[in-house]
């Protein structure tokens, strides 16, 4: 499979704090890459370099290259809205905007200039179906998104990011606050989604990484310790630290 994203010698600093240290990593198209590691290992910061959301904080310094389809996304003149439409994101906390389910989903497309009502309705139905939420909410699309349960909210957030028709989806511990049933629904959705999208999943749950990840990267203190197929990492890891982490001996 071809490489969707190529990361070369990526370093990230917040003020003087060295958050990511020389990361080199290739992310293949239509795979689910899981990123695991203990708290403060730089997983979330790494994820946010891929859609340049770290740029909000101006104390951030970055070096190295991130190539999306061969194009450096840190090149001068790159439009951030364009990049973020191409690389969608789902956050750890489900955050529906304080408006209706329908309005949440069409928020992105509308900003991008989609105004046709038919097109917007079609998008809402399609994305809610992809996120396995359509059947639960189709009769109340115009009620507030904040009234849904936690698991439904998170699937709404996934649908919302799909509405931009991205090529890559970043998920930052999307199931951290959810019950097992909601989690399995989201995992089911991810499994379907990877047919169309490239997915990067940050997770605290090593079992989840083993279940849905094609490949796994293990981060520790800003270093990428090990990268390999799920099967490999979870059965015969090369590094002692990886083994310690996945067997729960630290972290």
């Amino acid at each position: 499979m071809e490489d969707k994203i190529i990361i070369k010698d990526l370093n990230l600093y917040f003020d003087t704090h060295h958050v990511l240290k020389s990361i080199n990593l290739n992310i293949k198209a239509n795979e689910i890459l899981s990123i695991i590691g203990p708290a403060n290992s730089g997983k979330t910061s790494f994820l946010r370099t891929l859609n340049r959301l770290n740029d909000i904080t101006s104390a951030v310094k970055i070096s190295g290259e991130i190539l999306l389809d061969g194009m450096d996304i840190y090149k001068k003149g790159i439009s951030l809205p364009w990049l973020r439409r191409k690389v969608g994101m789902v956050f750890a906390l489900p955050v529906p905007l304080p408006r209706s389910i329908f309005e949440n989903i069409v928020y992105g497309p509308r900003l991008n200039g989609v105004t046709s009502k038919d097109r917007l309705e079609e998008l809402v139905e399609k994305t809610l179906k992809s996120a396995f939420l359509w059947d639960e909410v189709k009769d109340r699309l115009h009620t507030s998104g904040t009234k849904l349960s936690g698991g439904q909210q998170q699937r709404l957030c996934i649908a919302r990011s799909l509405a931009l028709e991205p090529e890559v989806i970043l998920l930052d511990e999307p199931c951290s606050g959810l019950d097992p049933l909601s989690t399995s629904k989201i995992e089911e959705a991810l499994y379907e989604l990877k047919k169309q999208y490239t997915i990067v999943l940050v997770t605290n749950n090593t079992k989840q990484a083993a279940r849905v990840g094609d490949n796994v990267a293990f981060f520790l203190m800003g270093d990428m310790i090990e990268y390999g197929s799920s099967e490999h990492i979870f059965t015969v890891p090369n590094d002692k630290r990886t083994e310690d982490y996945i067997t729960g001996r630290f972290g």
Binding site: I56, S58, L80, F91, L97, Y107, G108, L164
Partner: protein, 277 residues
């Protein structure tokens, strides 16, 4: 061992008495004005023009003057104030520039209204030739209430959680789209609170109005007309001893208006705070 506890009891009582006196003073003022003024107030008083310099008749022109002057002030001050607070909270980190702007805002908040009056008189009434008019008065009052609107709006904008901004940006929104579609709507109750408090301040104001809008007792027909607000009318009635009765009546309307406005502002702010905590 008894002594410290004894002291605590004594101090607690003293502090309680101090608090009670303060609250009593407030209620006394409100009660006293309303007791003497409510009898004067009826529809006739509200809707008819004063006769004989205010000795008889109502206060209708002053009500119109007050409303128009506050409106002009708000229309000028709101874009400046909200714009400043957006800049301070969304576009900069704390720097030399922001601390200068903040210091300027604090200073402006501390400037006595008589100085604003002098300034508005020279700049608008004399220098720009606007005369004693609603426009001169509205502009000057706008400058006075600017700090109130800036501070309240800034607080409201800062209370909008960062994750809303991140969501909007991650969905391909530009910074400005994010501010207009997500941040401002969420901060709206707080911003409106600031505007309402600004209205309250412009209703209370007397010195600036006398210096820049004059005190002509007629219903204004254009922005270049002079007008008399309720505060100014009350001041003239009371100080020149024209009519105590009508002074109490005017003060009653003033106090009731201010009470309602403040209650509404607090209610709105409370709603905003409850939403995010």
């Amino acid at each position: 061992m008894l002594k410290p506890i004894f002291w605590e009891q004594v101090m607690k009582k003293i502090l309680f008495v101090g608090t009670a006196i303060t609250v009593f003073i407030l209620f006394f003022i409100i009660f006293y004005i309303l007791k003497n003024g409510l009898a004067v107030v009826d529809m006739e008083f509200l809707l008819s023009s004063p006769k004989d310099f205010g000795r008889a008749g109502g206060i209708f022109p002053c009500i119109v003057g007050t409303i128009v002057l506050s409106l002009v002030a708000i229309i000028i001050a709101t874009p400046l104030g909200v714009g400043t607070s957006i800049y301070l909270s969304e576009y900069t980190r704390e720097s030399k520039l922001t601390s200068i702007i903040r210091f300027g805002t604090d200073c402006l908040a501390g400037i006595p209204s008589i100085i604003f009056g002098l300034f508005g008189f020279v700049l608008f009434v004399v220098y720009l030739g606007l005369g004693w008019s609603i426009l001169s008065g509205g502009l000057t009052i706008a400058f006075m209430i600017l700090p109130t609107i800036i501070r309240t709006s800034e607080e409201a904008i800062k209370s909008v959680p960062d994750y809303y901004r991140e969501v909007s940006l991650s969905l391909g929104g530009t910074k400005w789209q994010t501010i207009v579609k997500v941040v401002l709507p969420s901060a709206l109750p707080g911003i409106v609170t600031g505007i309402i408090l600004g209205v309250a301040r412009s209703i209370e104001e007397t010195a600036i109005v006398i210096f820049t809008a004059g005190s002509v007792l007629r219903i204004p027909t254009s922005l270049f007309d002079s007008c008399r607000t309720m505060s100014v009318h009350f001041y003239i009635l009371a100080r020149e001893g024209i009519s105590m009765e009508n002074a109490y009546g005017t003060a009653t309307i003033l106090i009731i208006t201010i009470l309602l406005i403040n209650a509404f502002a607090y209610w709105l702010m409370h709603r905003l705070m409850a939403k995010y905590s």
